[in-house]
């Protein structure tokens, strides 16, 4: 934590991979300053190419969304609501001196590293694996770019590059800096975050921290503070928790994400019915009309 110096979980060396400890991120928008250092650090460390030089016109966010070449993405949410017990002054956007409440929230979005991961289940090559620390990793040398993980992620995180890189697979997403973690380093985004809005640590610690933070915020008037950690759906919880102010929809997060494998049973049953129907139809056609 801030003030702990190099003893902070974001800074000190660890042996989570060796000890097979489940790790997690906790991203807290209430202390994020929108500096995008996480985006930059991620790009630099992982050598991620540019994601297009386009202007979205959406607040100060020209990144747009997570994708094959965007593994951290700072959202700039603008809402006509009050932020906690915020005092709205003369700089509000109200008409004719009205004090319209207005809040500006920054949140660094990232791969959720689901407990039950849609991409991992969908991958036909076994390229996507679960690591010792519970994160979900794409092995680029195995990935053949079939694109099925892209439509299987309930959070729209993983994507295929339009043109494959030489000697690299088709699908890309956040690696949870597995290479850094193996060497006892913290992920680049957490390491660089100047306000510790991104906290890295043991999943249990991070969960506890998130709960405590929500309590603190609620006590100080942030009534709509909540943790985004879909444990009650088939996703079964995530390794990158978020603190949200207000509804998940405003952050482009699905309110009730489900892993697509829950649809398999009904769909394969329908396929079996179709196959049986075809056999019966062909049998009948040739038995009675030949």
């Amino acid at each position: 934590m801030i003030g702990e110096g190099i003893q902070s979980t974001n800074q000190r060396r660890h042996s989570f991979v060796e000890d097979r400890v489940e790790v997690g991120f906790f991203t807290d928008p209430t202390v994020c300053i929108g500096c995008k250092a996480c985006e930059v650090a991620c790009k630099e460390w992982n050598d991620v190419p540019d994601d297009g030089y386009t202007w979205t016109g959406n607040s100060y966010d020209n990144t747009g969304h997570l994708g094959a070449s965007t593994w951290r993405h700072v959202l700039f949410v603008e809402q006509d609501q009050q932020k906690g017990k915020q005092v709205v002054g003369t700089h509000s956007l109200g008409k004719d001196g009205d004090d319209d409440p207005f809040r500006w929230i920054f949140l660094s979005d990232v791969c959720k590293h689901c407990e039950n991961a849609g991409c991992l289940e969908a991958c036909p090559t076994g390229s996507i694996v679960r690591t010792e620390v519970g994160s979900v990793l794409v092995q680029n040398d195995v990935c053949n770019g079939c694109g099925y993980c892209v439509v299987s992620c309930p959070f729209g995180v993983i994507d295929r590059r339009p043109e494959p890189l030489p000697d690299a697979g088709g699908a890309f997403k956040c690696t949870f800096c597995y290479d850094r973690q193996k060497s006892g380093l913290t992920p680049a985004c957490a390491k660089v975050c100047p306000t510790e809005s991104i906290v890295f640590g043991r999943l249990d610690d991070v969960r506890a921290l998130a709960r405590k933070r929500v309590e603190t915020l609620r006590a100080s008037g942030y009534d709509d503070a909540q943790i985004y950690d879909p444990t009650e759906t088939s996703v079964g919880g995530i390794h990158a928790l978020f603190l949200l102010l207000g509804e998940a929809e405003a952050y482009g997060l699905p309110p009730k994400p489900e892993i697509p494998t829950i649809y398999l049973k009904s769909s394969w049953s329908a396929a079996a019915v179709a196959a049986l129907g075809a056999v019966l139809a062909v049998g009948a056609a040739f038995a009675f009309f030949a």
Binding site: C143, G156, P164, E249, S266, S267, A275, G277, A278, A285
Partner: protein
Amino acid sequence: MNADRNFEDRLDSLRKGAKHGGAVTGRGVDISGGPIPRLPGYYGEAVVKPPVWTWEIPLYFFLGGASGMAPLIAVAALLVRQIELARGALWIMAAGALLSPVLLIMDLGRPMLFLNMLRVFKHRSPMSVGAWILSAFSSFAVPACLIFELYLRDAFAPSIATLVLILCGLLCFGAALFGLGLATYTGVLLGATAIPAWFLHRTLLPIHFGTAGLGCAAAILELLGFQTRPLFVLGMLAAIVEALLWIWLEIDKHGAADRALHRGGSGWLIRAGEILSGPLSIIFRLTNLVPLAAISFLLGALCSRFGWIAAGRVSGRDPEAVFASQR
């Protein structure tokens, strides 16, 4: 600078629009209380990712469907001794068995690595199951067609001819079995995803794709000149089922969640497909215009495959569809 000039022009047009109309169109400055209606979710950005597949995949669905159902017709034809019909069906099967992997490999981000699909079998991944089904189907279908053709040309000595025929029959049976999977798994492939328009219709899709596959196999055979009664009956049955599926799709609406299936280009592509292979095909058959019915069915099946992929793309980009499907 040219770019700066463009930005200034855009800003001017935004100011003008806001001043005159009280609202501006297109992308611009999204301020709370500003003149632009706020978009759903996070500036209307997609919540899930739309499919990255291009034209190869719907075409593969179409070919795989027709060639997957062909060996079933071939086996039935062999059992009732319609040798020429069986021969035609086996050729359709073999052609599809050779072309399908090509289309699938063309779409891969790294085509050289198709074989990576065969390093594991994951029963919970329809893509993995499908890759194995296609591989098995092709390895049964191509030898079956070759052996049958050689047998018809008396290439085998009489002493082993019966044995060869039995082997060929077994291969055909295997191809028919995996062909059933090939024609229907594609529906599961779309159904078990995070795309609202697809997973909401996960039971309709395999039935639709399987029926279309069977109807297409019969239609191609009819166009090749086998206008026999069993094929007519099969074509009619497939068209009736397609018409019923169209009605099901029109009744089973989920509002914003699956509007991509009913509105816009993707909606019309699906509707055109269902009309062509359903009601129109039935009418042509009732008026005894069999070739027209066959063409209509084939066109419909092709339209519908492209329509479903297009709908997935629209639905995946639509944040409201995702939110609506989870409420």
